[in-house]
Amino acid sequence: MSFLTDPRGTLGDLTRPEAWVLGVSVAFLLLLFVALLAGALGPTYFLFLVGLAGMYALLSFGLNSQWGFTGLINFSVAAFFGVGAYGAALMTADSSPIAGGFNPLVGLIVGLSVAFVLAVLIGIPTLRLRADYLAIASLGLAEVVRLVVLNERWLTNGSAGLRGIPSFFAGWPVLSTFPQAMPGLRLEVVPGSPIFLEAPFWRASLNVLLVLGFAGATYFVLRRAHRSPWGRVLRTIRSDEDLARALGKNTYSFKMQSFVLGSLIMALAGVFYTHLNLYVGPGDLDPITTFYVWVAVILGGSGSNRGALFGGIVIVTIREGTRFLNDFAVPIDPAPLRLLLIGILIVVVMRYRPQGILPPQRELIWPSAVDGSGTPDRPASGVRERKRSDDLENRSENAENRSDDRDGNGPNGGDDDE
């Protein structure tokens, strides 16, 4: 993404992992492109996958603004996603038991509003406490939301789910009829396997545009927020909440803002999913969705929006890759295989690269403020990587005063040992 906004500057000073990720991504895209031209991969399906990747990137942005920026552990990504998806579906779908037939924009607003309320309700009891309380409570919230969706048939249609969902652009001028209005095309790059580009293809293109719009806007907002004093307070809270409090920051309020913002982004992803998939069911609220997103964020690098984007692509690869494996190579049920892969990825990342593949590395100061003082030196190995050795050094330094501190109750007294 930063590549898109500043192509010349970025290519020059890529770190090794950045270059590596870029290389793999480009190779992967080329592979897909070849498959596309050869007719092995249907263009409409391809666009569906792109939409899905965009959706996961959006979810990752949401989690990133909670966990990555502020260190909030939200295990109910699936719930906020589901609330967005169901909010949109219930407002727009033909089969909606309560409303239905509204403009998709109404669904968007309803989905986001419910997510907002839910985020505040779960934030109030947990955000004043230790970080792990939010983890536990949010896992519970996810389960409750899933139970409600599954059991309240009068509201959600229960396990049957919701069908008859219009495209997001239904009722818009021009765009609502665009897929039908476009001429059908037939391309034949490899002789014998022609590619058809017809109404479904154009519909899928619109969806990709939509998710690009959502993700682009979110990325813009998050980038600005991340580089601002607001984001700096969040990052301080992540490392040392007591420090932020001592410096006069109302950390509870900041945590709440960060939590609500992330939850809204997740709900936005849900709204998009509804209009991409045109069906939502209780299965979409399975906790596995939550942990797909967690893998994306910790793999990409907590706090790094580029990383989140990369993580989104990895997830779609896992999801579709396991399906492919099951179809063609090893006949293992994809569900536990995905679970296993997700589990192993979590453990491996935490073991070998807890900072993720693309940790945020650039100095984050409001752009106009640093213009005058020249380009900051960018640490070649990344700011986070030096932590370990440094801590060791520091530990011996502090050993002396720690043994003195029998009061032991100081907010910062005697930390980081073990």
């Binding site: 792990d132 983890a135 296993l340």
Partner: protein, 315 residues
């Protein structure tokens, strides 16, 4: 069913939750992180027992309607859960150089690995132990209590384990060290307790109890790869209710949450049950929301008493 009947069911289910919550609470305070793999440790215990019981069979006699072989399977379930937990601690958690939040996230990965392996091996469907299902105990039926001798076995075994743990904590050197460490890990380390060893024993005991809980859960309901993960929320609710780090709090919390869970059907006809409440009154909530009630209680506790109902001041 009568109120007594629900209470009896509650007692059985509580025994299982208590076994789960003790272990979670112990590990929470001594290994210092919220172990999200605890539910799946229960699943491991259950499936290990399933395999063992399938292999050894009844072995002749029976106690409380359960063949000897089942008790052997129970012991194997406990042992396997403990061994897997210790192995995970040694191989995964111990070498990690991250804080308790990092460990928490890692434990989610561990939970998925446990569950995935079981699901790949046994499939996602429900199974049962190959134990003859029993009819409810005859002489209790007039009181509206429909429990089997298996249920009695569950409660009795859980009671034995809990009393054993109590003796261990109160009267042995290891127990004293464990309590000291749960109370204040730093102080314990300073005062020369070999914390690593105590931690290892904590895993053994915590996971062993979880394994037993898993076996009983399989006997009470049935087995499925998700059984433990589905129970995790209820167990966390019990631990938070009792106050994180307090073993006896976890017992009390587990008991209460287990009871409430099984008493859910009564909520819709509170009026008939409680003396002072008008007859038509009730909270209309279905049994499918039993886990949601645990969640609501947990959030309420966090709001009012973040240190649990018993928690006052320091752990």
């Amino acid at each position: 069913m009568t109120v007594l009947g629900y209470l009896a069911n509650g007692l059985v289910f509580s025994s299982i939750i208590v076994l789960g919550s003790i272990g979670l609470s112990l590990v929470y305070s001594i290994a210092d992180f919220a172990n999200f793999a605890h539910g799946d440790t229960m699943t491991i215990g259950a499936y290990s027992a399933l395999v063992t019981f399938g292999a050894v069979g009844g072995l002749g006699g029976a106690v409380l309607g359960l063949p000897y072989g089942f008790f052997l399977a129970l012991i194997v379930g406990i042992a396997v859960a403990a061994v897997v937990a210790v192995g995970t601690e040694k191989l995964i958690y111990e070498p990690l150089d991250i804080d308790s939040i990092g460990l928490l996230i890692t434990s989610i990965g561990i939970a998925f690995i446990y569950r995935a392996v079981i699901q790949i091996r046994f499939g996602a469907d429900f199974t049962r132990f190959g134990v003859e299902p029993l009819r409810p105990i005859e002489w209790l039926i007039p009181y509206g209590i429909r429990v089997t001798r298996h249920d009695v076995a569950i409660v009795a075994s859980a009671a034995v384990l809990v009393v054993g743990l109590h003796v261990l904590l109160q009267y042995t050197d290891l127990g004293r060290k464990m309590r000291a460490m749960a109370d204040n890990p730093d102080l314990a380390r300073v005062s020369g307790i070999r914390t690593k060893r105590v931690k290892l024993w904590t895993w053994v005991i915590g996971a062993g109890l979880a394994g037993a809980g898993g076996v009983f859960l399989g006997l009470f309901n049935q087995l499925s790869p998700r059984m433990g993960f589905n129970l995790l929320l209820v167990i966390f609710a019990a631990v938070i209710l009792g106050g994180i780090g307090s073993v006896y709090g976890a017992m009390a919390g587990g008991f209460l949450i287990g009871m409430i869970n099984q008493l859910t059907p009564l909520l819709s006809r509170l009026g008939e049950v409680l003396p002072l409440v008008p007859d038509g009154f009730g909270i209309p909530i279905g049994i499918e929301y039993a886990n949601a009630i645990a969640f609501v209680i947990m959030v309420a506790v966090l709001l009012v008493r973040p240190n649990g109902i018993a928690g006052e001041g320091a752990t």
